[in-house]
């Protein structure tokens, strides 16, 4: 008797589940037939939108090198697969040409498109959720008055089940933010409040600089304590972390504006952030960001005394590094940054230092006339032991850190 009852109930349940999945799948895949939006805006609003779009660094993911502005395509490597930034030009079929201003607000703040399709949290809606109506409407006006570029966004390469967008409903239930991100510093000045908005909402700094949990969610117990997304680690940018590596609010402002400071030059993803976003911020906003990052009462920057490093490491440094970085680590303007006072050398885990020495870094231009030559990689020229000696030499000489990097740590990073 029991069997007779269970079987039909089970069948109904399975059918119900299949119907739900089918509806969810359809919702993620249906096309947008809404009318194409014609947007007009004043020059003033367009300029405000341009500024806000830069502050929010939309171009970083929605533009790819060699592609049209905002035509999408930037491949973001995540632990779950590659997600491509979408086309956000007013293209009717490939972009946001059929989105209304209200659709745009929802898309940016909640990660849901007008047809109900869920965006992956590579779109930082968990930071943008508190973006002001004014900024959103200005960005919308700016984007919708750019030329439409009719190129499709490349397909993401995400394995099953991550390629099922409706799973984001569950992710959002667990991790979608409604509150502001936890404050990283103490303050209540007008600058601090503005800086918090620019850092946590517009600049979405926490997306890279906060460690993530196993589902890819930001670990909000450790805001801005440093995260790992790609080859390089996004540094700890809490007030304590920054001060520990010698940063002052003034130097940080200079770094965000120009990509260069006595503490080093921006490289990898941060170079892109400066190039596409922070260099365009006005002085007041730069000051606001650094006021928030370091607090109304910033901790004093820690100074390190130059200590003699190991002999072997010094020999490697003189042979392979001093030609550009200088015998005493003084650097060469527009060629190579100084090692003395360098914040990357002062990162305790040495990941970025080791990766730079292994892989090298590309030639880079900076706002204005700033420039850095390419740095050769030394993976083929040095074995793990030699590189550990070199890294330890720079740590003890200029980093105020123990020379405790083992050859095994070099080997581990060499493999990547």
């Amino acid at each position: 008797m029991a069997k007779r009852r269970i079987l039909p109930a089970l069948s109904i349940l399975v059918i119900l589940l299949l119907v739900i999945v089918a509806i969810l799948w359809w919702r993620e895949h249906r096309s947008n037939d809404n009318p194409v939006q014609k947007v007009t805006a004043t020059d003033e609003q367009i300029e405000r939108g341009r500024y806000a779009a830069r502050a929010a660094d939309c171009a970083a993911c929605h533009t790819v090198e060699g592609g049209g502005l905002f035509a999408g395509g930037f491949p973001m490597e995540t632990p779950f697969g590659t997600v491509h930034g979408s086309n956000i030009t007013p293209s009717a079929d490939h972009g946001i040409g059929r989105w209304t201003a209200e659709d745009f607000r929802r898309g940016v703040r909640e990660g849901v498109t007008p047809t109900g399709r869920h965006l992956y949290p590579a779109m930082p809606y968990n930071s943008y959720h508190l973006m002001s109506d004014q900024d959103l409407d200005d960005i919308y006006a700016y984007l919708m008055t750019r030329p439409a570029i009719d190129v499709p966004t490349p397909e993401n390469s995400l394995p099953f089940p991550f390629n099922q967008r409706f799973l984001m409903i569950g992710w959002n239930l667990l991790f979608q933010n409604t509150d502001p991100l936890p404050a990283v510093s103490k303050g209540d000045s007008e600058l601090w409040v503005r800086g918090r908005y620019l850092t946590d909402v517009m600049g979405h700094c926490a997306e890279c600089h906060t460690p993530r949990g196993m589902f890819g969610q930001m670990n909000l117990d450790k805001p801005l304590e440093g995260g790992t997304l790609g080859r390089f680690k996004a540094a700890d940018i809490t007030p304590e972390g920054l001060a520990e590596r010698g940063w002052t609010p003034e130097d940080l402002s200079r770094f965000l504006a120009t990509g260069n400071a006595p503490q080093g030059s921006a490289f990898s993803e941060m170079h892109m952030v400066v190039a596409l976003s922070t260099q365009y911020l006005n002085k007041n906003d730069l000051k606001a960001m650094t006021t928030y990052l370091m607090g109304d009462q910033p901790p004093a920057a820690k100074k390190v005394a130059i200590q003699p490093g190991g002999e072997q490491g010094r020999a490697h440094y003189l042979n392979l590094c001093a030609g550009c970085h200088g015998v005493s680590g003084e650097g060469k303007p527009n060629v190579a940054p100084a090692m003395a006072g360098n914040a990357t050398i002062r990162q305790p885990d040495a990941v970025n230092l080791i990766a730079s020495v292994l892989d090298g870094l590309p030639e880079q231009s900076f706002p204005g006339t700033g420039h850095m030559q390419s740095m050769p990689g030394f993976a083929a020229k040095m074995n793990d032991q030699q590189m550990a000696e070199l890294v330890n030499y720079t740590r003890t000489t200029w980093g105020g850190l123990p020379g405790d990097i083992k050859p095994g740590q070099i080997a581990e990073l060499r493999g990547h």
Partner: protein, 184 residues
């Protein structure tokens, strides 16, 4: 201030040099010019960009690669085997020099004018051709491979095309550098 010196010994163009006491931190280009009087390698930018200063580093496994001497300390080369632009031509019993195939091709093609970048190009092209001897490539990959091999070298006179054509000629006229295909 005292200058600390350390001895180095190395093989340059098939000849053992040293032990020679050399200051720590002296760049290899200065060692070549001032200590062993090999002045053919050129100091251009002095910061590793133009590649006029490259020498060939020979590895024990028979492979060879380029190393920039303006940003690499002389002591890095202690115990190593290198070739400079002076080491390519062969000399017969009467002291007559015969340029290498690469050097001859550069002259035949009028590849250079001022010649400042030429030592770097000679070394890079030689490394490229030695690489093809170990690992031949298909004919249709040749043009791109030349471009990739020479891309870092800067020349401000002849616009590269004559270097490029000279290297292609050497490769096509040297047996064994291009893979034989089914169609010949």
């Amino acid at each position: 201030m005292t200058i600390t010196t350390k001895p180095i010994t190395l093989n340059i163009n098939g000849k053992k040099q040293g032990p020679i006491d050399v200051p720590e931190g002296l760049m290899m280009i200065d060692f070549l010019h001032e200590y062993v009087h090999l002045t053919g390698s050129r100091l251009g930018c002095g910061q590793g960009v133009c590649h006029a200063c490259v020498v060939i580093e020979d590895e024990a496994d028979g492979s060879s690669h380029e190393t920039r001497t303006c940003i690499t300390g002389a002591h890095y080369f202690d115990g190593k085997t290198i070739r400079t632009v002076e080491g390519h031509a062969t000399v017969d019993d009467k002291g007559e020099e015969t340029p290498s195939a690469v050097q001859q091709a550069f002259m035949d093609h009028y590849s250079f004018q001022c010649g400042y970048c030429t030592p770097g190009f000679v070394n890079a092209a030689t490394v490229f051709i030695e690489g093809l001897k170990r690992n031949p490539i298909a004919r249709d990959e040749l043009e791109e491979a030349i471009l990739k091999a020479m891309n870092n070298h800067i020349c401000r006179c002849t616009g590269y095309v004559r270097y490029y054509e000279a290297i292609r000629d050497v490769v096509l006229n040297t047996p064994g550098l291009i893979k034989e295909t089914a169609n010949g």
